[in-house]
């Protein structure tokens, strides 16, 4: 707590944490964390995935209780027993994963967030007032499932603002927004701060923190590293504090050349799966041997449907829509496509890419049994699977007790390394991965990136679907943007401009995007 200006010192803190500690089985999520937030201050809580930011704010909001340490509110020691108590104090929170009810209306969703019983008509009037005050427009009687992600976030914000909060906690609010939506959000937050509301802003995006926040508290591995003023820090200096100087640059082979086309997708159409799904409309792109192709986009724009259509979990019904190494596979099952050399890694590790309560060895059987010859006469060669799992663990430095360890006993990063290894060591001609480093610590992320680059260097074609634009820009050769189930034309990463990508992510296919061909 070094860099408070004289003016700020005259104010007493609104929120003060001292020595907050929280332990989960096997992890120390927060280790004696202490900092304070002043009235009207926009205070960043900066740290990587897994640094303990979310756990910390969950304790402030009363969802969890600290094992030890004190929370003070306007100088008084408090125990926040539950979120209701937090709201009573004037603490509002907007979650990273929205706590919304898809099948209900905007109005019903907001009413559920209110503790006092307000007649529906009065509530509607108050909602409209708040919305116009901050420029957050929403139709109260729309069903949430029909709204865009940005609109859904507005519900959460309106819900929090109706309580006239003195402290608003925003958990990774921009991870699902387009750059333009981010700007609109910042306008609202600045206006709130000017009115005296404190904001605790959780993020790992340095440029946002520099643009928005007055103070930044940096966490690493559950410990407080520093509290600093982002306006005097450089992005680089904050990144070093956040990551701890462990970041390795990706090693790319010099003079990369692409080979023949390995994956061609042409006019791929898939109807939407269920009332809340996204349909794919005329997706087309191609990837050459040795090329890493990135697909950017805001969450929920068809990324999941695209992965399922490419893996064969959802059939395209059209032979020609997908070709792998010249062979048409559009009509083939997931199993047949895997035999043709197509491997995929879906976004969700637990329950999709891997079976949580199966051993790593059994999880090797899941996708490797045919390609690696683990099946003979309908019977599984368990010894072969065990050996293969051991090789993956070894080659990808997976921290596990061995091939017999259950998938769910591994940390997110280690399980992701295992899954990536399981696919990469099958030497696929085409590898499609979705969110390869989501929720993974920096060391594992770097290892995964390196493995992808190495696989490409061996002549495989790679598709990376990610919401993390920084990841794509640093990893990929070529890039396209998916929005509402449509894919933009491909562009060379070297030529791409961030504003154009932002516009495409926001669904603007106008002039800004036109010359990207």
């Amino acid at each position: 707590m070094t860099s408070l200006s004289p003016m700020e010192e005259s104010l007493s803190p609104r929120l003060e944490l001292s020595g907050i500690t929280k332990r989960f089985p096997g992890v120390l999520a927060n280790d004696h964390v202490s900092f304070s937030v002043l009235p009207g201050e926009i205070h960043a809580l900066l740290g990587e995935n897994g640094a303990g930011k979310s756990t910390l704010v969950k304790m402030i909001y009363g969802i969890m209780q600290p094992d030890s340490g004190e929370i003070r509110w306007n100088g008084e020691r408090i125990i926040v027993v539950n979120p209701k108590a937090a709201r009573k104090l004037g603490i509002g929170m907007v979650f990273q994963h929205f706590s919304l009810f898809e099948a209900m209306t905007v109005l019903e969703n907001i009413a559920l967030g209110m503790d006092a019983k307000i007649p529906a008509r009065d509530l509607e009037a108050r909602i409209v007032a708040v919305m116009s005050q901050y420029g957050l427009m929403l139709e109260p009687h729309r069903i949430v499932s029909t709204l865009s992600v940005g609109e859904r976030q507005r519900i959460e914000i309106v819900r929090a603002l109706l309580l006239n909060p003195n402290l608003l906690i925003m958990d990774e609010p921009t991870s699902v927004l387009t750059p333009q939506e981010v700007e609109q959000l910042f306008v609202v937050l600045r206006q709130l701060a000017k009115e005296g509301c404190s904001i605790l802003y959780i993020s790992h995006k340095l440029h946002e923190i520099k643009a928005l926040c007055d103070t930044a508290t940096i966490l690493r591995g559950g410990k407080l590293v520093d509290t600093c003023d982002p306006s005097v820090e450089t992005s680089r200096s904050m990144a070093e504090k956040m990551i701890g100087g462990n970041l390795k640059d990706i090693q790319r082979g010099a003079g990369r050349t692409f080979g023949e086309q390995k994956l061609v997708v042409k006019a791929l159409n898939v109807p939407k799966d269920g009332p809340f799904g996204t349909a794919l409309k005329g997706i087309g792109f191609s990837v050459k041997a040795g090329e890493i192709f990135g697909i950017a986009g805001v969450a929920g724009n068809g990324q999941n449907a695209l992965l399922l259509a490419l893996s064969g979990e959802v059939s395209a019904h059209d032979h020609h829509a997908i070709t792998v190494g010249g062979a048409e596979v559009g009509h083939m099952s997931a199993k047949a496509r895997r035999m043709m050399g197509m491997a995929t890694v879906p976004e969700e590790r637990n329950g999709h890419a891997a079976v949580p309560d199966f051993s790593l060895s059994d999880n090797a059987i899941l996708t490797g049994r045919d390609r690696l010859g683990m099946v003979r006469g309908g019977m599984i060669d368990a010894a072969a699977a065990w050996t293969y799992a051991g090789e993956v663990i070894e080659a990808f430095a997976v921290k596990a007790t061995g091939p017999g360890a259950f998938a769910e006993s591994l940390s997110g990063g280690n399980l992701q390394k295992y899954i990536m290894g399981r696919e990469i060591m099958q030497k696929p001609d085409v590898l499609v991965v979705s969110q390869p480093t989501w929720g993974v610590d920096a060391g594992a992320a770097a290892a995964i990136h390196q493995a992808l680059v190495d696989l490409a260097a061996q002549g495989s074609a790679i598709v990376v679907i990610s919401q993390d634009l920084d990841e794509l820009l640093s990893l990929c050769d070529t890039l396209a943007v998916i929005n509402e189930g449509r894919l933009s034309p491909s562009m060379k990463v070297a030529d791409a401009r961030i504003e154009e990508i932002g516009l495409l992510m926001g669904g603007i296919h106008g002039e800004g995007a036109a010359h990207a061909h």
Binding site: I63, P83, S99, F101, E102, A111, L112, G113
Partner: protein, 307 residues
């Protein structure tokens, strides 16, 4: 086929419909809160015996109905503790409740076998309830009016009250409801107990009204039809009422077919008809993609908060 026949037919249908309507209302509320309780049959049997026992002991059928509600609710709480507190599999636990309810009701029923109570019929004056025309309105057991009253009441509760809103929210997204600060378990306990009470009252309609005596397994699978009814109704109260009458008419057809001796088809054909039609109706409803859209998103899934 005169007016007499039509009036008699209506009275038969209303009688056959009432138990499945009551149990169906209860199960709809339970499922709206995100819980699948397959123990309806067991709760109905528990209600049938406890309603009958209380009526025999007190001589008061009103007390009997309350006893049936309490019996059904207590049985449902067994299920609730397992499912909500211990996260047991809902399908298996519901089955266990049906097996348990069947055994328990037979055991409790031993000392009541062969006894008879006065049927719990209309409380309106005979000038209304026995009138050849007016009895179509006034000639029913109070349980029938209660069931019909509960349809709009429950619909209003779910749609327009704050408690109903919270109940639907818990069934729609239990983790979100938890993170906002609602007690998912408390809401579900209440819903399950309500479902048990309604199934219990539905069960005692057999032992107090249809045949005012106790017989083992007297609900004859109607609990399962009530479960099918909720799916059939697409979790909407209006359609639940319509569906209950659809099944009521089917069951009445069985009685009339047997009575009038449609001898070209064996009586077993008519006895199997309600079950066959239930399967056929479920096929029509389930194959329409929109039917599931109104299903509570958390139905049947265990609630596993991260804290």
């Amino acid at each position: 086929m005169g007016a007499d026949f039509i009036i008699a037919a209506i009275i038969t249908v209303v009688g056959l419909t009432t138990p499945i309507l009551l149990a169906g209302i209860g199960e709809l509320v339970v499922e709206k809160s995100g819980v699948l309780n397959l123990g309806v049959e067991g709760m109905m049997l528990t209600g049938a015996i406890s309603g009958f026992a209380v009526t025999v002991i007190t001589g008061n059928p009103w007390a009997g109905v309350i006893g049936a509600a309490i019996g059904g609710a207590l049985a449902s709480l067994l299920f609730a503790v397992l499912v909500l507190q211990l996260n047991s599999n809902q399908v298996a636990t519901g089955l266990a409740l049906t097996i348990f309810g069947t055994g328990l009701s037979s055991l409790l029923g031993l000392s009541f076998t062969g006894r008879i109570v006065a049927p719990f019929l209309s409380v309106f004056p005979a000038s209304l309830s026995a009138d050849p025309i007016l009895k179509v309105i006034f000639g029913y057991s109070p349980i029938v009016y209660f069931a019909l009253l509960m349809v709009p009441l429950t619909a209003w509760f779910l749609k327009s009250t704050r408690a109903g809103l919270i109940l639907r929210a818990v069934g729609e997204n239990d983790l979100s409801a938890h993170s906002i600060g609602y007690s998912v378990r408390r809401v579900r306990y209440a819903a399950i107990a309500f479902g048990g009470a309604m199934a219990g009252i539905g069960g005692c309609y057999f032992s107090l009204v249809i045949t005012p005596m106790w017989a083992e397994k007297m609900t004859a699978g109607r609990g399962w039809i009530a479960l099918a009814l909720v799916v059939f109704a697409g979790w909407r109260m209006g359609r639940l009422l319509a569906g209950a009458y659809f099944f009521g008419i089917l069951m009445a057809l069985e009685l009339y077919a047997k009575a009038s001796g449609f001898s070209f088809l064996p009586s077993q054909f008519w006895a199997a008809m309600p079950y066959i039609m239930t399967v056929v109706a479920l096929s029509f409803i389930s194959s329409r993609g929109t039917a599931g859209a109104n299903a509570p998103a958390c139905l049947g899934k265990p609630f596993l908060p991260s804290t």
